[in-house]
Amino acid sequence: MTTFAAYATGEPVVDAKAPSGPIEERWDKRRFEAKLVNPANRRKQTVIVVGTGLAGGSAGATLAEQGYRVIQFCYTDSPRRAHSIAAQGGINAAKNYRNDGDSVHRLFYDTVKGGDFRSRESNVHRLAQISVEIIDQCVAQGVPFAREYGGLLDTRSFGGVQVSRTFYARGQTGQQLLLGAYQALSRQIAAGNVEMHARTEMLDLIVIDGRARGIVARDLITGTIDTYFADAVVLATGGYGNVFYLSTNAMNSNATAVWRAHRRGAYFANPCFTQIHPTCIPRTGDHQSKLTLMSESLRNDGRIWVPKAKGDDRPPNEIPEDERDYYLERIYPSFGNLVPRDIASRAAKNVCDEGRGVGPGGQGVYLDFADAIERMGRKAVEAKYGNLFDMYQRITDEDPYRVPMRIYPAVHYTMGGLWVDYDLQTTVPGLFAIGEANFSDHGANRLGASALMQGLADGYFVLPATINDYLARNPHKDEVDAEHPEVQEVLAQTEDRLNLLLSVDGDRTPDSFHRELGELMWEFCGMARTDSGLRKALERIPQIREEFWRRIKVPGTGEEFNQSLERANRIVDYLELAELMCLDALHRAESCGGHFREESQSPDGEAARRDEEFAYAAAWEFTGTGDAPVLHKEDLVFEYVHPTQRSYA
């Protein structure tokens, strides 16, 4: 079967919500044009929010503050544990507290350029504008950002930019921001405005008369499958990096909510735009269950190098200075170790492919703090990076104060996601996607410290403003009838799927399939992709899928706490999403940002974009499992930041 690669191209998809006019005024204009819901009517309208990370937590809290009735879900035992909590480095904001030439326009410019001209200008500009409000909001919540001795907020510079605009809370910025959102959400739960369902996982979307009206979700403790209804549904369910099995995502982060929404009509945009993070701890063996990222803020003071000679297996401290290749500083003298993530990752892969990698299997490069310790003193290094050094030492049993760290790239973030318009609404009316779950702001590559910014911008400020317009135009009339044939059908399909998983009783564990798929994706749809490799993957994935349904073994029953069943069900969706990722990567015969096609590179090995053919977002429409999807292109117009080939030399 090679039909999947023979996709059809449908009508272009257009973002009808972004206003025209000067870019600085568009967000104000949209907020003014958006209809409002009067406060008395808000109480009658219910919004389902799936996910409690930065985007979902902040959205649920804010919608409830506005007077809407919110029903919220998370698969973890507490909303505080969403994987946003693991973000380390910081959050960008165009405050220009440093007076170093930063501005909203510069943050906008950096983000469009960093995204390699595959994001939407209107969205990115709005993100930059809102960035300053986020910091105000978080400080007021009691987020303990790092401060200077004068009591003012400290900032640092972060991968890919030359200004110091990243606010941080030691190496735990994500944790502190998430706890801020969680606390705001907790306040609304206590006030009775949010009905919180923890340990409850969304398994499907309910669409009635063309509008998203609810979800099917499973109580993970009892196994009970239930339906929940609302006037709008918001997905804040994060990215799909766990398709690769090994990634920096949490073990249970998954793509089921977005994939099920896709199957119900929401277009999926740019699935091949995945980000490989350059500073992760290399894997140690086949038992590896996940990869651990260390904040790339380490690149501010650490120097990356490999031995000049191939196969040099001397301990790092015995390799003299002139036999070391500080390759990022050599190739990119002005940005040095601070080049964007995709460039740093690929450079690491290149030196390892040349046989100059270090550590087990030669899959690593050094990140060396010897100079920083000499320059700043151990105490200062400890204050800045102490927790990261501790984490590294705990995992590797090596002391990074004495021996250089070893790092290697790992899948970290997915820029692709559900296609949304300027209002963050998907192609299913009433279904919104926020945070990493949508596609719009980071283009083909996300800059460091911008994920937290986008999650909170969407949740605190964008969605709560734009969803009013939808709810005002679709005022609440009747409750959804639980006996409605659409509801019954979705419910039956969900139950059938789980029952089928339980009944196969084969001879392979869910994890064994997940690992197999992950290895395939890493090899053919990872850091460097080729036409032939992607075609191989597209041939192989349906075979794995077929084998999965023949040989999967899920112990236990559906009516109990069953983690194997949870896992197996998520893999069902990965096995379809992976196929779309490969097709998207195959069709996009250019390199841009995190998507590197070996056929499209400059003579010196840099990613070469092909703007004439590919300056669009690819929004895919689902047509059936294993059937070729339909491509809808959204043309990207650059009025303010003129596309150039990125140069960090």
Binding site: S78, R81, A86, Q137, P144, F145, R147, T284, P555
Partner: protein, 249 residues
């Protein structure tokens, strides 16, 4: 490495539990403790047995989901989370006991998984600053002295794992509760609700059935984030101060 595991198995909250014994082989010292359990579960699955249920998610020591009592110690022999404990901390041939958090306020859900929602309700009682989105002043309007910001951070690091409760001979949640109170009460942003926060959170903590504090100090000893025992002193001071002022519900 070859190990003998004695693991608490309990089908659900209502069922009786018991320790079951398993042998695992081929364990690498570089594995995390949870990866060792993954290995056991892969084998159990293939043998048609119910794998051991345990909470885990980020596996990098920050989400607070993992929660095992290992050889009698919450999170095991090192001062870290279970996911960051590596098998190099054990020896070939060791017998390892693996149990869930044991506390009246944390009922067992299944095997090694417990219900920690009482923690959420303590936060809901007052562990926040009432600042609706959009109402915040400019971030630099209120400078915060660095020592205060650092102190707040030190307490804000709590990951809500519950090891403090599991380690406490009384099953008390004083360290968890005090960490949040100290985090917010030390900051100017938290000052307006300073009194109600401590009174309401402490009242909720008592309502949840956590035990009383006898300053045994086990909580701070096992805390993977190093929340200090003085956190409890700070909370008691805040509580006395608020009570003296006659604030609260």
């Amino acid at each position: 490495m070859k190990l003998t595991l004695r693991v608490w198995r309990q089908k659900n909250a209502g069922a009786d539990g018991a320790m079951s014994t398993y042998e695992v082989d081929g364990i690498s010292p570089d594995m995390s403790f949870l990866e060792m359990l993954d290995t056991l579960n892969e084998e159990l699955t293939l043998e048609g047995e119910d794998p051991v249920a345990f909470d885990h998610d980020c596996r990098e020591g920050i989400c607070g989901a993992c929660s095992l009592v290992i050889n009698g110690d919450a999170h095991g022999p090192e001062r870290t989370t279970t996911c960051q404990l590596h098998m190099r901390s054990f020896k070939d041939g060791d017998t390892i006991d693996v149990e869930p958090w044991r506390a009246a306020a944390f009922p067992v859900v299944k095997d090694l998984v417990v219900d920690r929602t009482a923690f959420d309700r303590i936060i809901q009682a007052g562990g926040y600053v009432s600042v609706p989105t959009g109402s915040a002043p400019e971030a630099h309007a209120t400078p915060v002295p660095k020592p205060d910001a650092d102190l707040a951070f030190e307490h804000a690091e709590c990951i809500g794992c519950g090891a403090c409760v599991a380690a406490c001979p009384n099953g008390a949640a004083m360290l968890f509760t005090s960490a949040k109170i100290n985090h917010l009460n030390v900051l100017p942003q938290g000052a307006p609700e300073r009194e109600t926060r401590v009174l309401d959170m402490v009242a909720q903590m008592d309502d949840e059935g956590f035990g009383g504090c006898t300053l045994a100090g086990e909580c701070a000893t096992v805390c993977p984030k190093g929340i200090p025992l003085t956190s409890i002193t700070g909370m008691n001071k805040e509580w006395l101060r608020a009570t003296a002022k006659g604030a609260g519900r």
